[in-house]
């Protein structure tokens, strides 16, 4: 059975945080925001597994125009010919793609009925991060029927954005309301043929964010996908598309610091960014999906394709990511520097603990003249985890005077974890200047003792040392996000020392 009723909640998975200057407004609205959610949790009957019919059903369910359905089907047919990549330094059980739901999954019988049934450690973490009580159940995946009703604050901001001609809405809405833009840009940076997971996402993507900034407009606030409640159910195959037209600027925040549980173990998201001439996009992520328990059981497999295209001259794309969650992370936010003088940046902190595995990094593809890229990667491994940096710097033959600087550091906590660095260089133009530096260090007992001797607990000491180590990356985050992210580091490393 297909429930044809359209979800009334489609625009609540977006929210907006304000820039520094608008702090006051934010404080007021934050309070509203915390309680201001409308959510309807519906029971969806959707068959297990994937075939053409399912793809059509997904598209039909969303009332998509013909071109979208066809695009999804092309992706699906291509996917059938592909196999899962095996090159990452990751070790995980085979995913049975016939045993997954490809549309908002029905309620899980095994979902905890109340917080009493939830892993007490997860609850303790919520405590430390100060997650409001009413959000805990949802984050922990408790099967609640609660309807938290009130008007979404998002609408207030939407009016403001509308005045500037900024479009910020769920992808599903953009497909309905702005099909020309979607048609023009979707899949132009990450084609559906790109890689196994991207192809799968293209066939079955659920929802995500769509942003369009018109020429010359500087988006006055941080746009944020602070998907807290509704979007938790659509997180599996998210798809985000951000277009910054000529001379525009936008800063976008994705994720949230509270640990998120999801019944869907496999996540394969796509983010596409397009910066036209003189435009700039800053994209910041804090990823904290459930990482599994201390023994490595459960946890999300996170296979993400993120790519930005600096299509115009003098454009700039900057990725900042703080990765602490997921059992498995496979993710390489990349920049294609096509426009002359365009700039790509990648700032990353990837922390793994217990049995987590991360294979992450970036690709900087220099195509235009005088293009510059900067890579700052800070890996932190604790417990029995494995953390790999994999980065490609490619300078095409026509990219005169391209420059890259890469700094890839690894920090080890304890002696059972691993850190690996795989820098790849493909230089086809002799004028390129490429510099790579790498270091590996350990959190030393001397450092911890020094801080202990000043009255600071071991837990806080490790948090401080790690934040200090990753400071260059945290500095790139909007202030509030940076503070939360540092708290998150400390919590994620709990029990890893001493």
């Amino acid at each position: 059975m297909i429930d044809e009723s359209k979800k009334s909640t489609s625009n609540n998975d977006e929210n907006i945080a304000m820039s520094d200057e608008q702090q006051t407004i934010q404080n007021i609205t934050d309070q509203e925001y915390k309680y201001g959610f409308t959510t309807e949790i519906e029971m969806e009957e959707f068959p297990l597994g994937l075939n053409e019919n399912i793809v059509r059903m997904i598209s039909a369910k969303k009332n998509e125009p013909e071109f979208m359905t066809e695009w999804r089907l092309r992706a699906y047919r291509h996917w059938l010919k592909q196999t899962e990549p095996k090159w990452p330094k990751l070790d995980y059980p085979e995913v049975n793609f016939d045993d997954l739901y490809y549309y908002a999954a029905p309620k899980n019988e095994n979902a905890p009925k109340s917080l009493d049934e939830v892993d007490p450690e997860l609850l303790a973490t919520f405590d430390k991060l100060g997650v409001p009580l009413e959000e805990r159940e949802l984050l922990a995946g408790v099967a609640v029927d609660a309807i938290i009703d009130s008007v979404s604050v998002a609408t207030t901001f939407k009016d403001k954005l509308n005045e500037l001609g900024i479009i910020f809405c769920p992808m599903s809405e953009a497909i309905q309301d702005h099909p020309d833009l979607v048609k023009k840009y979707l899949g132009t940076v990450v084609p559906y043929t790109d890689n196994f997971y991207a192809t799968l996402n293209s066939a079955v993507f659920s929802d995500g964010s769509f942003v369009y900034i018109p020429p010359g407009v500087r988006c006055p606030m941080e746009l944020s996908s602070y998907f807290r409640i509704n979007a938790a159910k659509t997180g599996q195959f998210e798809r985000t598309l951000i277009i910054a037209d000529k001379g525009s600027y936008v800063s976008y925040l994705e994720g949230c610091t509270a640990p998120m549980r999801d019944e869907n173990q496999l996540h394969a998201a796509i983010v596409e960014l397009i910066a036209l001439e003189d435009a700039e996009i800053k994209y910041s992520t804090v990823q904290n999906w459930y990482a599994g328990n201390k023994e490595g059981v459960g946890g999300i497999f996170n296979f993400v394709t993120k790519r930005g295209l600096c299509s115009g001259n003098n454009s700039k794309i900057s990725w900042t990511q703080v990765e602490t969650g997921s059992a498995i992370t496979w993710k390489y936010p990349s920049c294609i520097l096509k426009g002359d003088n365009s700039v790509g940046e990648f700032y990353s902190v990837a922390l793994t603990n217990n049995y987590q595995q991360a294979d992450t990094g970036t690709k900087m593809i220099h195509q235009g003249k005088n293009t510059r890229s900067l890579i700052i990667s800070k890996g932190i491994s604790a417990g029995k985890s494995n953390n790999a940096y994999r980065g490609l710097v490619k300078v095409n033959s026509k990219a005169e005077n391209a420059r890259n600087y890469s700094q890839c550091d690894s920090l080890l906590i304890g002696d059972q974890c691993g850190a690996h660095t795989y820098p790849y260089l493909e230089i086809e133009n002799p004028t390129a200047q490429v510099e790579h530096e790498a270091t590996t260090s350990k959190v030393s007992e001397d450092q911890i003792f020094y801080l202990n001797q000043r009255g600071i607990s071991t837990e806080d000491a490790v948090g401080m040392i790690v934040s200090g180590y990753a400071r260059e990356v945290f500095q790139q985050l909007p202030m509030e996000f940076a503070v939360e992210a540092q708290a998150l580091m400390a919590v994620s490393l709990e029990g890893s020392v001493g």
């Binding site: 001797q453 009255g455 607990s457 200090g468």
Partner: protein, 252 residues
Amino acid sequence: MLSIKNLQVSVEEKPILKGLNLEVKPGEIHAIMGPNGSGKSTLAHVLSGREGYSVDSGSAHYKGLDLLDMAPEIRAREGMFLAFQYPIEIPGVNNTSFLKKALNEIRKHRGEEELDAIDFLGLIKQQMKLVEMKADLLKRPVNQGFSGGEKKRNEILQMAVLNPTLAILDETDSGLDIDALRIVAGGVNKLRSADNAFVVITHYQRLLDYIVPDFVHVLSDGQIIKSGTKELALELEERGYDWLIEKAESQV
């Protein structure tokens, strides 16, 4: 305030402290001298709770508390301070925020209100004058890229801000130029009161011209072989340690 009885400590099965006794009362300054490798830093580390030492017997009480039973951060919050012989670098961690955190941990422990950034800056500016430290060192990461002397001054600055009850200075004078030595000593003298005490580990009697000790102890091969007043330091300067060590051995 501090009472150490027959303390025996070993590292990796190797005995380092071999029955050490020491009594420190409020208001006193004790100097500990002694040859390299005699166990001075070991004593300082054991008292402040560093891992890796095994206490084989004996006891150490501080303000009546069983010191050896307490976590290092609790000892610190109870007012114990160690100025490190080799201060540690913490890359990326801002010197000011580190010190603010430390002070607030101690204040919290005492049930006092935490200082906010403004009050803290007020306090630290005042204490910086005491050690004549350059302001830019506060903005830098903890000890990172500091010169040897700057590191030592930073230790004294931390001591001045944290205002400990019992401070152990492990060769704080080593590596200091004459001016710095005077400044560091001046800092100690200003902090000195009837309620706190200092244990000053040093190789040079010169420091003791500035920080005048009530007692001087000679630590050799894990034991205090001689205690005296500041005149003992002068005598050591002149005669070295050998005569004392020989004497101690002949008494065994």
